[in-house]
Structure formats: structure tokens, C-alpha cells
Symmetry: C2
Subunit: 82 residues, 2 copies
């Protein structure tokens, strides 16, 4: 079995309203050290295969076809055997 950990984030050139709202909320709670917040997605995908190379290719395709919006999001992932 393969576990892929996928991190998806808004591109740095794109406004991140969720992140900004969280930043304001944290500052209102007294966390005045907060400089910037980026809000992204974190997916764990279990794949029924042993082949890390194949899994890596599949995860890349999944990200490009469905999991991310390439216009506004960047992604990266790590693959590990479990």
C-alpha cells in the first residue's frame, strides 16, 4: 500500500481571502505576532499498489485532472510505502 500526502496551496500571486480572515481572527484573539496566513488543503490518499513510481505518476495526474485548479493553486506531494 502507498500513502500519498498532497499539499495544495493558493498560488502566491492569488489573493487568499480565507487566509486573510483567519489572520484577522487570530490577531483579534491577541496573537499579534501573526504576519501572514495561507490556507490550503491537505489530502491523504491511500493507493492499492506497491510501485512508488507508478503511484507518483498517478497522483500527479489526479492533481492535474481533478484535485487542484492549476490557474490558482500549486501543489506538491510525498509518497511513502505503508
Amino acid at each position: 500500500m502507498i500513502l500519498a500526502k498532497v499539499y495544495i496551496q493558493p498560488k502566491t500571486t492569488v489573493k487568499d481571502p480565507q487566509g486573510n480572515t483567519i489572520k484577522s481572527g487570530l490577531q483579534d484573539l491577541g496573537f499579534t505576532d501573526v504576519e501572514k496566513v495561507n490556507m490550503g488543503k491537505y489530502l491523504e490518499i491511500k493507493l492499492n499498489t506497491q510501485n512508488k513510481k507508478l503511484a507518483s505518476e498517478q497522483i500527479k495526474k489526479m492533481c492535474d485532472q481533478m484535485l487542484t485548479n492549476p490557474l490558482i493553486e500549486d501543489y506538491n506531494f510525498v509518497i511513502e510505502k505503508i
Copy 2:
């Protein structure tokens, strides 16, 4: 400056409808190796401090007070100097 990477995930005992929907979607696209998908959140928080210990305490408080719902979510984070 400190960068905290915060990973928030539904507890394993809690249903994850988003994850299940993504799993079905991926399988419909032909990724039949997909066994399980967990959908979580990924936050990057920049803190205006140099003190890693203090930053770590602050991030823990932020997670407990605002960023996560302790009834249904687990979190972990890493702290690094940037």
C-alpha cells in the same frame, strides 16, 4: 521570522464525506487503485518572532482556540525558522 506548517485532519473515528466524494470521483476517472482519501486542511502561518519555543506554544493555542474543532479534528504542526 517563524514559519509554522499546520496539518488538520478529521479524526479517524469521524466520517469524512469530502474524502469519500473525492475517492468516488477519482475512481470514476479511472484511478481504480484509490483505496481511501482523507481531506484535511493545510495552513502556513508566518509569525513575527525568532523564538521557536514561544512560537510552538502560540500555534498550539491557536489550534485549540480557533483553527480546529477538537471534537472532530486532529492536528499537528512543524515550526521552522525562515
